[in-house]
Symmetry: C2
Subunit: 200 residues, 2 copies
DNA sequence: CAATAATGGGTGAGCCATCATTCACATTGT
DNA sequence: ACAATGTGAATGATGGCTCACCCATTATTG
């Protein structure tokens, strides 16, 4: 066969499209198979069951995103935690806008998943959030951010703010303000909110 | 008949418990019926179908919450938009903590629902978010908040921050910091972030 | 004021459509 | 030839929803 187009990847990509269109529960294995141009049975050569597709999808895609952001932070933000927050926010919103289908799946299904698969920990997702708390800790170490802000609370607040905004776009794709403008608005509020008084 | 305990309410309450335990898709009508101590068929005397239970649940419960907050804002926050944000945040987090089962349903199912029932608008939910943008506009009118902050962006950011924090508690109920502490942390950041420079 | 009829909320067994998963078989590459 | 890989029809379980049937209450009748 000529370079057997990686079936695993093909199935994941198909699953993103189908899950985004119909949601996990309404999506049929047959739909994914059709979209990926493979037989139903083939899917079970690469995944244990329907859930396994979803989880693999999460971990692999978030894994890629983490690599992307980390690279971007190094190349774009220098050592300034304020710029790091800005870069993170812009990247997150841009990603959600560029990859609508993936965004939709993450938005809609990621939360539920912890629920039924309690045994399964979404390790990559935690890692993604920890980038934010890492930035906060660094900023506090440099005396730029107020020390009394709890990094563990801030990371959730910041991520939640971004993600709730992104959901608006997923549901009604025509946004009134540009991505850059929105990202800056949100980051402005958070930076003003966390910055030390003597650091204007 | 002896005071026919309002079946509609009984079913909604049962549904909250069952949905929170198993999630909407895994919940069986039979489960809800059993929990509500009625027959399967009885549910269809009060609701059109399974989705209808979920939607009624949303609208009714969020409706109650809106009334609660509005009352609390009037009695506790005076005219100060900073206190209003604080009261809103504390109330939201306290609610999510007090009513775990409802919180779980709102957290997990509310987002999905827009998706499949695109025709259906979650009107009450929008109304809830608009309380926040109302506070922002008022604060800007009073010159206390910076005028360049977009209320429509702020409301999502603030709500998202609160809700993402609440989700942590839903998933792992033992929170490291108290509700008050967390609510204040988040509100501090947002108030510092939105307040006008001359208003310390 | 019985006796009878009408009403309508409540019931739950069973129908039937829907998929996830399997597996006997086919195809491909070495 | 034979692994390895891929196929898709068949299976079996599941669970939303229906509907023929109860029965308590209220209205009507003689």
């Amino acid at each position: 066969m000529i370079r057997t187009a990686d079936k695993h990847a093909k199935i994941i990509e198909a699953a993103i499209r189908v899950f985004s269109r119909k949601g996990f529960f309404h999506a049929r294995i047959a739909d994914i198979a059709k979209e990926a141009q493979v037989a139903d049975g083939t899917i079970y050569l690469y995944f244990n069951n329907k859930y396994d597709i979803l989880i693999s999808l999460f971990e692999e895609e978030i894994g890629k995103i983490i690599l992307e952001v980390k690279l971007l932070l190094e190349s774009e933000a220098g050592d300034d935690p304020r710029r790091m927050l800005r870069v993170f926010a812009l990247h997150h919103l841009q990603l959600m806008d560029d990859r609508r289908e993936l965004a939709e799946v993450l938005q809609m299904e990621l939360r539920q998943s912890n629920k039924f698969m309690r045994e399964y920990r979404l390790t990559k997702f935690s890692e993604y959030l920890d980038i934010i708390s890492g930035i906060v800790k660094q900023g506090q170490g440099q005396g730029i951010f107020r020390p009394e802000v709890l990094p563990g609370v801030f990371k959730r607040a910041f991520f939640g703010a971004l993600d709730e905004t992104a959901r608006l776009w997923v549901l009604s794709p025509d946004h009134p303000y540009s991505i850059e403008e929105t990202a800056n608005q949100i980051t402005d509020v958070f930076i003003e909110g966390i910055i030390a008084a003597d650091q204007t």
